[in-house]
Amino acid sequence: MADTSLLQGLPASALRSAAPLLLVLLGECLTQRVGRINLGVEGQMLVGAVAGYGVTALSGEPWLGMAAGAAAAALLSAVYALLTVAARADQFASGLAVWMLGLGASAYAGSGLVGLRIEGFAVGAAGLTPTLWLAVALVPLVALWLYGTRTGLAWRAVGESPGAARAAGITPWRVIVAGIAAGGLLSGLGGAALSIDHTRSWAEGMTAGRGLTAVGLVIVARWNPWLTLPAALLFGLAEALSLRLQAGGSAVPAHLLHTLPYIASLAVFAVTCARLEGGGGPAALRAVFAR
């Protein structure tokens, strides 16, 4: 009996958990495809969450909240772009500084919002909401764009070899900034989806490492937008199971289950690092990893 109640509605629950992560994952995938690793997505996601939540609470329009979240996170990602592209600061340190700034800014902005409840999106069929459809629809769009269009080719070229891209008449820094901004927009959407749709609340630091998970899961997805869907589902499943176990007071430790995505990311990364220099992936990124 415990088993069936555990599994009942699990797919929907997993999907709901996966949706915010999928959005961030797509965003960071694009950013890494142009050769930048942005650890600040955690902060961007938080800023997106607080902005989305706040605007939804003020206006009553969840889609407006989503847009606000995307814009806020894009703004924060601009800081990362300024640091790494204009000031040529180190990618890891810049990402962490942006994370820190996002953490602080979201805590500050959200200090008046704690405890408010909002309506959020209307729940549709099978307990699924529009943000999930948005996230899932973006997967093929991004993938087809990356692999099948000329601009996608240009982005891939910049991520592999900025010098060669330049020789082909592309301006690498523009593409890199665009890639960072795309990551910003998507991570903002992910954060807003988290606060508006998934939990319908705001709490300081509520993303609980999802942004950093995304950075790891991009590696699991082999930088391929198609594979972000199964990667995000892995996380969603782990989280959904974990919540059910916690609620049911089960013997299997929920928090241990929660470590699964991190361990999986590390395992995949370790195995590919052993086989390929820098763990595979776009060459410009490999240069950052394989120092």
Partner: protein, 336 residues
């Protein structure tokens, strides 16, 4: 400091002043008023100074934990995970520990060993499979934190802690001695002394030269008869032990019990402090104390000005962004 370093510092301070001033303006406060309030809250009384030092201690230890591997050229963000695992092992040691007279050394040893072990995991991955240490330490941070949460909510949950799960209280025999009549514990002294020792080793000893050579060009290892693997393991283990000490000190002496998610961003701040100090010990120590003071000022600031305490988190973030940007821009200009 030479000319370029002064310029860089000046530029950084100017950038920070502009950003912080902008933020204060945005929330409708005068920059001078806020600055004064922060300084008062950080150092305006003996109590305030004590709190600032208390907050600075784990940040300093985590900065050192980042710095030691950085001298070899490794970029480890794992201080927070090592902090958690050190606290975990130290607490475990307490639960197993025998006589009260042995408790403190056992607990401290547990912290050091726990932190070192958690650092040796990514170190081994790097040595054996060339796994980038930044990614591996990042992932392991969350694993360590979740392990602590699991233990605190589960097997190690104290029956006395009702609403907020935590382990049993640390008895006095397991706590570090305090300095004076403040809450500041001897961990600060250990951190400062270790810092000086490391500084001397890095700048004057043969080991420091070995690290410099390998950081500058790892390909020289076979030529010079050096082992990169050995140095990776050594530097990560030392760094991990320091972070583990921060974890167990915080658990035993400040909070008095093991709780979930107690690190409060010390690892993150520590990393950025070490980075901005250019992996040099003395500037890192100064910066860690500064940041500790800033963060400790949050509650006092809220009391004095009714600005939410999270404002200092924003100021910290702006500070690091300004420092990073100024440093990067200055190098960019120097490159021509």
């Amino acid at each position: 400091m030479n000319g370029t370093q002064l310029q860089r510092a000046g530029l950084a301070i100017a950038a920070f002043a502009a950003l912080a001033g902008g933020f204060f303006g945005l929330i409708g406060r005068g920059p001078l008023e806020m600055l004064q309030a922060i300084v008062m809250a950080a150092a305006g009384s003996r109590y305030a100074v004590g709190e600032s030092l208390l907050r600075a201690t784990p940040i300093l230890l985590c900065a050192l934990a980042t710095l030691v591997p950085a001298r070899l050229g490794l970029v480890s963000v794992g201080a927070e995970g090592q902090l958690y695992f050190g606290a975990l092992v130290g607490t475990g040691a307490l639960l197993l520990a025998p006589a009260p007279s042995l408790q403190l050394p056992v607990v401290l040893l547990g912290g050091l060993v726990g932190g070192a072990v958690w650092a040796l995991l990514p170190a081994l991955l790097r040595v054996v499979a060339d796994v980038n240490e930044t990614i591996s330490t990042l992932m392991l941070n969350y694993v360590a934190s979740l392990l602590v949460t699991w233990l605190v909510y589960g097997p190690w949950k104290s029956p006395q802690s009702q609403g907020w799960p935590a382990s049993i209280e640390f008895p006095d025999s397991a706590r570090l001695p305090l300095l004076g009549d403040s809450r500041v514990h001897a961990g600060l002294l250990v951190a400062l002394v270790m810092g000086i020792v490391l500084h001397l080793l890095f700048t004057r000893s043969r080991w420091g030269l070995v690290l410099d050579v390998l950081r500058s060009n790892p390909r020289l290892a076979p030529l010079a008869g050096l082992s990169i693997a050995r140095q990776v393991l050594l530097t990560m283990a030392i760094g991990g032990a320091l972070a583990g000490l921060a974890g167990i000190a915080e658990t035993a002496s400040v909070q008095g019990r093991l709780q979930a998610a107690f690190a409060n961003g010390a690892g993150l701040s520590g990393f950025l402090v070490a980075w901005l100090a250019g992996s040099r010990v003395l500037p890192a120590m100064a910066l860690a104390l500064l940041v500790g003071g800033l963060l400790a000022a949050g509650d006092g600031l809220q009391m004095m000005t009714s600005v939410p305490s999270s404002a200092v988190l924003v100021v910290q973030g702006l500070m690091f962004v300004a420092l990073l940007g100024a440093g990067g821009w200055r190098s960019e200009v120097a490159r021509g």
